[in-house]
């Protein structure tokens, strides 16, 4: 696996080639094999490159992302909720937010092709995680990139210690991958705690309260654990410091960020925060890197 995935925090010194081809701006066609509604606003797309050799060869790291484009409509970055351990088909979790996603939701059907560039970004430092206990904490849509990591950890279960997922959403109908997560928990592959802010009168067998409270329910040895957090800014604001208070060193906490991106390859400048390009040096950062770039989280 390590031979085909890019280096974590790869420097700019050498020349790299994108998995989808030598012109890093040129999308290559991928067919939509399946669409599933995760919530009323979020869909899971199964995609496969129409070039069979590329479909079989194409690999990525958990935490990397792709640019999806529809020529004439636009292009946008989307994280990968699937694991590179499962080749051939990759998945995108997409929320309806603007012109491109409206087009995807309203006009694109199974069997249609879209353009894909990638994989982009650094991804999670999975080599560091080997042999360690893994605490995954997700808020809302942050579950999408974390599901890719979760699958990766489960698929290589023997390489890691405990796998714990804490996941909070606003309400029961917003919980992504609920059946799948419950099945993983039942099989004993992962310890999973879910909570919702409010039940909104809907049936819910789990906990209520903010996701940060789930942390109090977990016993673990922070000296042999890594925490990986993914969620909206308000989630980071409370969760990251709570992890530090719990004893995690800032270098043992990783997070994934979002910024406006055009090129995805560190050229256009839009995602620059301080001296980092979110698309190139990120989207995954250690909390230590993030606190040294104040604009990264809090502005």
């Amino acid at each position: 696996m390590s031979a085909i995935v890019p280096e974590h925090h790869a420097p700019r010194r050498s020349v790299r080639r994108l998995g989808t081809g030598p012109n890093p701006y040129l999308p290559v066609p991928a067919r939509i094999m399946r669409m599933q509604e995760l919530t009323s606003e979020i869909r899971l797309y199964d995609l496969r490159f129409t070039d069979t050799a590329l479909a079989d060869r194409w690999a990525f790291r958990p935490g990397q992302f792709v640019e999806l484009s529809i020529m004439g409509v636009g292009e946008g970055p989307f994280s990968l909720p699937s694991s590179p351990t499962r080749r051939g088909i990759f998945q995108l979790g997409i929320r309806r937010t603007g012109t491109l996603t409206d087009y995807l939701f309203d006009r694109v059907r199974e069997g249609d092709t879209v353009g894909i560039r990638g994989p982009l970004g650094n991804g999670f430092p999975i080599e560091l995680f080997e042999g360690q206990d893994m605490l995954l904490v997700a808020g809302g849509l942050g579950m999408v990139p974390l599901r890719g990591l979760l699958h990766y950890l489960i698929d290589q279960r023997d390489s890691f210690g405990r796998v714990i997922l804490l996941y909070g959403t606003r309400s029961p109908d917003q919980v992504l991958f609920r059946d799948e997560l419950e099945s993983l928990a039942r099989r004993g592959d992962a310890e999973i705690l879910l909570s919702v802010d409010t039940t909104q009168g809907k049936p819910w067998g789990g906990r209520t309260g903010v996701v940060t409270e789930l942390l109090d329910l977990v016993q673990l040895d922070v000296s042999t654990s890594y925490a990986v957090a993914c969620g909206p800014p308000v989630f980071y604001k409370f969760m990251l410091e709570k992890l530090v208070a719990r004893g995690f060193g800032r270098h043992r906490i990783y997070l994934s960020l979002e910024r406006r991106m055009e090129c995805g390859i560190g050229k256009c400048g839009h995602c620059a925060v301080g001296y980092t390009f979110t698309c190139l040096h990120g989207p995954v950062f250690s909390y230590w890197d993030a606190v040294n770039l104040p604009e990264l989280i809090y502005t």
């Binding site: 700019r12 890093p24 484009s69 409509v73 636009g74 256009c268 839009h270 620059a272 502005t299």
Partner: protein
């Protein structure tokens, strides 16, 4: 490196000879004192002595707006050659201009190589030309007042002749194709060059210290100076457009006719309001003060941390073109507490 001399009277013949190597691009006096870079056929129009052109050479490597990809229905999106030039010979590149190209090279020719930049850059021949600073030049402060490489031929004007430096194999090709233009240089030329260099370094009137500047900026990140600057800056983006190393861009799709879609790339500036606006409506730099500060920090702190050097080459274009008279050197001297 080989050093030769060429008589001043042969300059026109030299330019004619360069046409065999590509389209000549040189500063031309558009109106009194205003110079622009443009393709020339009449070699008498070339003004390599012009201190600075309005726009730098970047406009010829990546057009202000060009089609990156074109898609016709029924086929796949294709790479477009809309930004491609035939081979170009850039005559009149000053040291700061060459340093700027080296900075753009760091960005565009490393990591994921930008094919649109590379295609024009690979076909570019650079003829450097020695300059004398005016009151807006501060390249000496940025370490970009001289250049050792990054050009094919370098001309330094001396009394009645040029000292010619052959900087590359392509420069050597030009010399070997035109032996009648060049003669060996002698010790007198070297003395004359050193004398000119001394006069040149003494001619700078604008300077700023860059010592420890990234850390000073880190310490001053909440300083009121940025709010004050935000009140003066219109965020018009002129400084970015004329900057030889500013290279941010925007991408948008167009539908020019039935069945055709184009992905178009346009120069952008971090000073523009929507620059850091994300889907969902959050703007990471909504205030003008934040945007102008970001530009200064990117030049003198962020770029240093990523590439080991500042991305300001001290050309003075931003000073010359700011509609409200913001002077980058004054800003940094103020931040340092020296004004």
């Amino acid at each position: 490196m080989q050093t030769l001399r060429m008589d001043t009277s042969l300059f026109g013949s030299f330019l004619e000879a360069l046409k065999a190597f590509g389209t000549l691009i040189a500063p031309v006096e558009r109106s009194p004192g205003v110079f622009v870079l443009e393709p020339i056929d009449d070699v008498r129009k070339a003004r390599p002595d012009a201190v600075r052109t309005v726009l730098p050479f970047k406009k010829l490597l990546l057009k202000p707006q060009f089609t990156m990809l074109e898609h016709r229905s029924g086929s796949e999106p294709m790479d477009s050659n809309d930004s491609d030039w035939p081979p170009m010979v850039y005559v009149g590149a000053h040291s700061c201009d060459i340093h700027a190209l080296k900075i753009l090279d760091m960005l565009y020719l490393n990591d994921f190589v930008d094919p649109y930049y590379k295609r024009n850059r690979d076909r570019l021949t650079i003829v450097a030309f020695g300059c004398m600073p005016d009151d807006k030049c501060f390249c000496a402060s940025q370490g970009t007042a001289n250049v050792d490489d990054g050009f094919d031929l370098g001309l330094t004007p001396l009394e009645g002749h040029y000292l010619v430096t052959v900087g590359s194999a392509r420069g050597d090709d030009i010399v070997r194709a035109n032996p009648q233009l060049f003669e060996p240089s002698d010790r007198g030329d070297v003395e004359e060059y050193l004398d000119r260099l001394k006069r040149r370094l003494e001619s700078f009137t604008l300077s700023m210290s860059v010592a420890d500047l990234p850390y000073i900026l880190e310490l001053k990140k909440d300083d009121p100076v940025w709010e004050e600057l935000g009140k003066k800056c219109l965020c018009c983006g002129s400084c970015s457009m004329v900057c030889p190393t500013c290279s941010c861009f925007n991408v948008r799709d167009e539908l020019p006719e039935e069945g055709v879609a184009r992905r178009v790339r346009t120069w952008d500036a971090c000073l523009y309001r929507d620059y850091a606006l994300v889907a969902g409506g959050h703007n990471f730099r909504d205030k003008r003060a934040d945007r102008v500060k970001n530009r200064y920090y990117h030049k003198q702190e962020a770029f240093v941390r990523e590439f080991g050097k500042s991305s300001c080459v001290g050309c003075g274009r931003c000073i010359e073109n700011c509609p409200t008279g913001i002077n980058v050197v004054e800003v940094f001297n103020l931040v340092r507490g020296e004004l």
